[in-house]
């Protein structure tokens, strides 16, 4: 008997008597009008920063917020940046990026998370190896909680997807969360309606 078959054989012999699969409710209760404020509170808990409307001049906004940034990699049509994700065919080269600009297809009010997948990033590492990340999010695309979030098709279709909820951090020394860790130093979410022609 092969290893696989042997493991299956033992599992089948030892499984406890069948127990029913419970139905999981969505636990939704918030009014649509409260989703943005809940998202804002949750993002703050996770050490992310929220900008509640698109800045008049995005270039000026970026220069003020990241004065030392030279390489700005944009994966969105709203802003050109100095490079595109495709400029980093060796994915480790994304470490040269100062700021990545991406758009998320979904935010989660309960946790302040934004969904990102290879569809949005094109080169996944721009979301982690860059020094900072700015995520554009259509406020209409904020869902209430994790139960609703997991109904998004990305989780069934994309090779890689992540719920990013704040900048990379660690509480491993002394038990209090500090930044930085290995990934981005800051996460900024800009509420920015998606263009209708996209």
């Amino acid at each position: 008997m092969g290893i696989r078959e042997d493991i299956f054989d033992r599992v089948r012999r030892n499984q406890p008597a069948a127990i029913t699969h419970p139905a999981v409710p969505d636990f939704t209760r918030l009014a649509k009008a409260d989703l943005i404020s809940t998202f804002a509170k949750s993002l703050e808990i996770m050490a992310g920063v929220l900008i509640d409307s698109p800045p008049g001049d995005f270039g000026t906004f970026l220069r003020r917020k990241f004065p030392k940034a030279k390489t700005i990699c944009s994966a969105v049509p709203e802003y050109a940046g100095t490079s595109r994700p495709e400029d980093y065919p060796a994915w480790s080269d994304a470490a040269k990026i100062d700021v990545s600009i991406v758009r998320s297809p979904m935010g989660v009010a309960e946790t302040g998370s934004v969904l990102l997948s290879e569809d949005d990033l094109r080169v996944n590492t721009i979301a982690f190896l860059a020094h900072d990340i700015v995520v554009l999010l259509d406020p209409e695309k904020i869902v209430e909680n994790i139960h609703v979030a997991y109904q998004h098709p990305a989780f069934k279709e994309r090779a890689y997807s992540v719920l990013m909820s704040g900048p990379s951090g660690s509480a491993d020394i002394g038990g209090k969360e500090v930044h930085p860790a290995q990934g981005v130093m800051t996460l900024t979410v800009v509420l920015w309606p998606e263009r209708a022609d996209r």
Binding site: R12, I146, G169, D172, V178, Q182
Partner: protein, 461 residues
């Protein structure tokens, strides 16, 4: 043959307690996590319903495990993933080494995985010329200090910031007097990021593996699983067979419970889903049994397979908090370790079930409602049946059983004890045989026993 000795947790704990500064630091830190967990749970109105659901989903899955393993394997293969199976640690390590060798990979970056700790993978690979870099901050600290994890969520929680400063000063030449966690985290980033960028292969464990999608799900605050799984083209994921859950709808329940139970936060910064290899890359999933299929058949102990590795039972346990994680001499420690480790080696871990007050706090905070304290008690029975209890301990238990089952004998014993405490000199009471008195004063003797008081007051009435 070199047989490892039985772990004497009590003796190890005594050494930890002797270091007062570390003991108090660790106790305070662990309790703060328990308090954070309570605050976070209280903000979720459906918290108890989520715990019920989590328990039922896990029990359902484990009772249909073969079916879901088949579904997971089929989904993963459809996604272009190569699926491997391993009976035990040796087979698992061999598979990893073979994959790396086929790609000529000499440098592996990995995120924290208790399964790879269980398999002692790092030592196995390093003996074969592969450099392994842990990318989780706590795990890296322990790697640099050549120590196993002391906690399943924060491997280096047992070290104070000053200890970490000393480890980094030795390894990285950083300032040994600077114990600011922000400074230390910067040092870690400065020295580890270049290693991540140059790695040949990346490895993660799995918090969950979803049967319907074939995705391996990891949760981290650092994003180090995302780096380990995305920077190199070669990705290997080690998954214990009990980590399978049926659907994304089920996954939501666990994601809501895990981080709140562990550290009192609504979610970790990165909840990552690795479903298929990146374009031009390769993804391998190793499904590992290592005793789990056998445990599944243990009538009293199979529910321990529901564990989602949040560490809440450890943070609340008075014995763990005052003993330190390393005192258990095992991969899994604290209450969950006590009920898991004897399934790996009953003789070596035969003393662990006695490292508990049986107060039930562990079961009360467990997000998947494992009856931990009841299992600890049941393991004591098993140790007795299998003759794994030390003679001195067994003798004391037999005597206690005899006294407690005979009311007259019990009354004489309690009364005699009170009298003895009043009359005997200190050296007779506080000696090696009195474990209670090793670290504390015995309570002042009462004037009369409860039974004597009851007879005087209540029976008269």
């Amino acid at each position: 043959m070199n047989i490892p000795p039985t772990v004497d947790q009590a003796a190890n704990a005594a050494r930890f307690i002797a270091d007062r500064a570390h003991e108090q630091y660790f106790d305070t830190l662990m309790w703060s996590l328990r308090e954070a967990r309570d605050r976070s749970a209280s903000e979720v109105p459906e918290w108890e319903q989520l715990r019920d659901l989590a328990s039922e989903i896990k029990e359902h899955t484990l009772s249909h495990l073969a079916e879901y393993l088949e579904q997971f394997e089929a989904s993963a293969k459809r996604n272009g993933v190569t699926v491997h199976w391993a009976h035990d640690a040796y087979e698992h390590n061999q598979i990893v080494a073979d994959i790396l060798s086929r790609h000529g990979a000499k440098h592996l970056i990995k995120s924290k995985s208790m399964l790879t700790e269980e398999c002692d993978l790092r030592r196995y690979l390093e003996n074969r010329g592969v450099t392994v870099t842990e990318t989780d901050l706590g795990e890296r600290i322990q790697q640099l200090d050549d120590e196993p994890p002391a906690h399943i969520v924060g491997p280096a929680f047992q070290k104070r910031p000053q200890d970490v400063a000393r480890v980094f000063a030795k390894a990285y030449g950083s300032d040994t007097n600077n114990s600011d966690p922000v400074y230390l985290a910067h040092e870690m980033r400065k020295h580890t990021r270049p290693l991540i960028e140059q790695a040949d292969a990346g490895m993660t464990g799995a918090n969950f593996a979803v049967a319907e999608t074939g995705a391996v799900v990891t949760v981290t605050n650092e994003g180090n699983a995302d780096l380990s799984g995305n920077v190199p083209k070669l990705r290997i994921c080690s998954v214990g067979i009990e980590k399978i859950i049926p659907t994304n709808r089920d996954l939501a329940v666990f994601i809501r419970l895990l981080s709140r139970s562990a550290i009192g936060m609504p979610i970790t910064q990165y909840t990552s889903h690795f479903r298929a290899p990146r374009q031009g890359g390769e993804m391998h999933i190793i499904l590992v049994d290592n005793g789990r299929a056998t445990r599944l058949g243990m009538e009293k102990f199979w529910p321990s397979l529901k564990c989602i590795r949040c560490g809440a039972c450890m943070n609340t346990c008075p014995v763990y908090r005052r003993s330190g994680g390393l005192s258990y001499g095992s991969t899994y420690m604290g209450p969950i370790g006590i009920i898991m480790m004897p399934t790996f080696d009953i003789r070596r871990f035969s003393e662990l079930p006695f490292s508990s007050t049986l107060n039930g706090s562990c079961s009360n905070v467990c997000p998947v409602k494992i009856n931990i304290h009841e299992q600890i008690y049941a393991w004591r029975g098993v140790m007795d049946e299998k003759h794994q209890i030390k003679l001195a301990k067994k003798g004391a238990m037999v005597a206690a059983g005899e006294v407690l089952s005979h009311p007259d004998l019990y009354r004489i014993a309690t009364s005699a004890t009170e009298t003895a405490f009043k009359l005997l000199p200190r050296f007779v009471i506080y000696n090696e045989l009195n474990a209670w008195g090793k670290h504390r004063e015995a309570p002042a003797p009462a004037k009369q026993t409860f039974h004597q008081w009851y007879k005087e007051h209540r029976l008269k009435a």
